[in-house]
Every structure is written in C-alpha cells, then in structure tokens.
C-alpha cells in the first residue's frame, strides 16, 4: 500500500509544481490577453460606428474615439501602465458615447423637423376644417335668411290679397249702394214720369173734351156738324172756325198727332157732285189748319160724298146731321186706322 503511494507521489507532485509554476508565471505577467475597460471601449466604439446616423453626424468624435482606442490598444500591446490603458479606454468610451449622443440629437432634430412639418399640415387641415365649418354655417344662415324672406314675402302677398279682397268688397258695397241709389232715383223718376203721364193724359182728356171729341172705334173723333157749313157750301162758318182754332192749338201742343179730315154730304144731288162737295169741305178744314201753322203732311183728307150717313136723309133734320166733317185724331204714334164701315 505504502509502496503504491510512494510510487505515485512524485508524479502528482510534479503536476502540482507545474501548475504552481504556471500560476506564478501568469501572476508575474500583469498584462493579460484581454482588458475589461478596453473591451468595453471597443464595444462602445463599434456600436457607434455601426450606427449610420452617428457616422454621418459625428465623424470627429468617432475619429477621436478611434484614436484613443488605438492608443489604449497600443499601450496594452506594449504592456504599458494599466492606469494609462484604462485612461485611454475610458476616453475612447466617452468619445463614443458623445458621438452616440450627437447622433441621438440629430435624430431628435429630424423628428422636430418632421413634427413641425406635420404640425403645419395639421394646422392647414384645421384651417380647412374651420373654413368648411364656416362655409357650412354661412350656407345655413343664408338658407335661413332666404326662408325668412320667402315667408315674409308670402305674408306680404297674403296681406295684399286680403287687402284686395277688402277693397273688392268695399267696391261691391259701393256699387250696391250706387245701384240702390240709382234704383231709388229710377223709381222716383218713374213715379214722376207716371205722375206726369197721368197729368198729360188728364190734360189731353180735358182738351179733347173741350173740342167735344168723342171716343169712337178709330180713336177720338171731332165732328163739325151742319152748323159750320151752309147748304151746298164749303166755307167754314164762325162756329166752325172756333173749333178749328181749338184743334190747331191741340195739334201744336201734341206734334206727334196727325189728323184725318173726312167730309160727308146728304143724299141730295148727284153722287159725283156730293163727292166733290165733301172733298171741298174737308179741304176747307185742312186749309184753315194750315193757315194756323199746322204742317200739310200732318193732315190727310178724304171725301166720301153721301156715303156713311149718320142719320136718315128722308127728313131735313136727318140730312143736316149727314152734312158734316169728321176729324179723327191719331194716337201718339201718328197712326190712324182706316174707315171700315
């Protein structure tokens, strides 16, 4: 057992010694293959260099970082003072950090520019929206004003219509009043005319009565009897002239009236002779009327001879009645119905 141990011991010891030697060697060399500060600085520099924004915006700081890193590396390779290596590594790291910060700043500035642009765009949008709103409001107001105007116009038109209707009613009332007045006047006039007509008729009747006119079949007839003509004579006696005066006055007063003067004889003598005599007697009356200013065309004459006797010719008294002139007075139109029997 002990042999076994003694045999093995020197081998183990030598291995241990070798390990201790190696350890002492490593301890004696203060510069290891890596340095944490240097690694950190290198990583920082490489990160900064990998950022395109940093490369573009901070070339000077990057260059300084690189120089300090090289310096630190060089010192490290030459196994220089550790404090010096770490100092330059620190400077390299800080330059890299500053370079990164400049890059960040550039990006922030770009963001500001972009945001400003965006802000302007939004501002424009806001103004456009405001303008749209204002336009819509203006449009709405205009529409409201238009509507109000139309309503006012409609009211005005309605008022006008009402006024026109009132005016029409007023006119109608006025017209009705005027018509009533006209009717009243017409009635008055009619009454007056009726009274006048009545008065005229009365007057005419009185005048006809004065002429001893008799109402016969053909109208009013005035008979100038035997007393106004002598036997076989055609000139008027004074009594006849008085009657003619009255007739002339009547005809002057009623110019629309015409007369038919008809002469008659008794049966003594030839028919031819009596016809002539009756014509002459009628004519005598006509001439007397014309002498008193009565127009010839208003006087017609007829001679009927012994025809149409009003009494018997057998006696002197009867024959006297037959010797006569009958004057038929026309109506107001001037018409005289012809003798029928």
């Amino acid at each position: 057992m002990s042999m076994n141990i003694q045999k093995k011991f020197p081998a183990r010891l030598s291995a241990l010694l070798l390990l201790a030697f190696g350890l002492s060697l490593a301890a004696c060399a203060p510069t290891a293959t890596t340095n944490p500060a240097l690694d950190e600085a290198r990583a920082a520099f490489q990160a900064a260099q990998a950022n395109p924004t940093v490369v573009r915006s901070a070339p000077l700081e990057l260059k300084k970082a690189e120089m300090q890193l090289s310096k630190a590396d060089e010192l490290f390779q030459q196994k220089g003072e550790l404090a010096a290596v770490e100092h330059h590594a620190y400077l390299a790291k800080q330059h890299a950090a500053i370079a990164q910060e400049i890059g960040n700043q550039k990006m922030a500035e770009a963001a500001i520019a972009q945001a400003s642009e965006e802000r302007n765009r939004v501002l424009l949008e806001a103004r456009a929206a405001e303008a749209t709103l204002a336009r819509q409001q203006a449009e709405a107001e205009r529409a409201a004003a238009m509507k109000a105007m139309e309503e006012a116009e409609a009211q005005r038109a309605a008022a006008m219509q009402a006024m026109e209707e009132l005016e029409a009613q007023r006119q109608a009332a006025l017209l009705a009043g005027q018509e009533a007045e006209a009717q009243r006047l017409a009635a008055e006039q009619a009454m007056l005319e009726a009274r006048t007509a009545q008065e005229k008729a009365d007057q005419l009747a009185r005048e006809l009565a004065e002429m001893e006119a008799v109402k016969a079949e053909r109208g009013m007839v005035v008979t100038l009897g035997a007393v106004v003509f002598d036997f076989d004579k055609a000139n008027l006696k004074p009594a006849g002239l008085v009657a003619v005066d009255k007739l002339a006055a009547f005809m002057k007063k009623y110019p629309e009236r015409r007369v038919m003067v008809e002469g008659f004889t008794d049966s003594v003598g030839s028919d031819q002779y009596n016809l002539r005599l009756s014509e002459r007697r009628a004519n005598a009356v006509r001439e007397a009327l014309m002498a008193r200013g009565i127009e010839a065309e208003r006087i017609e004459i007829r001679g009927y001879g012994k025809a149409f006797p009003v009494a018997t010719n057998a006696t002197a008294a009867g024959r006297q009645l037959n010797r006569r002139v009958e004057i038929i007075i026309s109506d107001e139109t001037g018409a005289i119905p012809p003798r029928t029997r």
Binding site: H87, Q105, I112, S116, R119, V122, L123, A129, L133, Q136
Partner: protein
C-alpha cells in the same frame, strides 16, 4: 563672462531640461483644468443638472479629485482626471441637448394630437 558662473548655471539648467524631457507630465495641467472647467460650465448652462445629473457630478468629482492630485504633485493623475472630466462634461451637455430636443418633439407631437382632436370635434358629423 565668468566661466565658472556660466558653468554653475548652465549645467544644472541642462540637467533639469533633460529630466523634464524624460518626464512629460511633470508640469501641472493648467490648460486641461481650464478646458474641463469650461466644459462643466457649458454643461450646466445647457441644463445638465436636470437632464444629465450623473455625468455632471462625475465631471465635478473628477475636477475635485484632480485638485487633490495636484496638491500631491501627481500631475499625471491630475491630467488624466481633467481629461476625463472634460469628456464627462461634454457628454452631459450633449445628453442635455438631446433631452431638450426630445422634449420639444414630445411637445410638438402633443400639440399635434390636441389639434387633431379639435379638428375631429369641430368636424360636423
């Protein structure tokens, strides 16, 4: 001229020059201090207090530390701190600028959204 005096001055001066040439960080980093301070000022003016307080604090702390290093005549350490402080401040300024731009973007987008909403509401159905 006195040759002894010349030698007495020249040799020590030459020796000093040689020493300084061999140690380039021996001089105090004045310009680095100025650069770092102005970078911190610019970052503060750009609103880094609000938008990048971590980076700004880092820069300020490093400037303070550099002052301690200068006291200890550690010019190399001081210079490194100041160089780092300048970059920290620059990063803070840059972050503030980015944040402000991003804020502007957000506000713009918000206003756009408001306008869009107004348009939607004002639009007659």
């Amino acid at each position: 001229m006195n040759k002894r005096v010349f030698r007495g001055v020249l040799f020590p001066a030459l020796g000093l020059l040689a020493v300084t040439a061999c140690a380039p960080t021996m001089q105090p980093p004045t310009s680095e201090m100025a650069l770092a301070s102005s970078a911190v000022e610019r970052a503060s003016g750009a609103g880094a207090y609000e938008y990048a307080p971590l980076e700004l604090k880092l820069a300020r702390d490093k400037i303070e530390q550099s002052k301690a290093a200068l006291q200890a005549r550690d010019y190399t350490g001081a210079q490194r701190l100041l160089e780092q402080a300048e970059l920290d401040a620059k990063l803070a300024e840059s972050k503030a600028a980015t944040a402000k731009s991003q804020k502007a973007v957000d506000e713009l987008q918000k206003s756009i959204e408001v306008m869009r909403e107004e348009i939607r509401r004002s639009r007659p159905q």
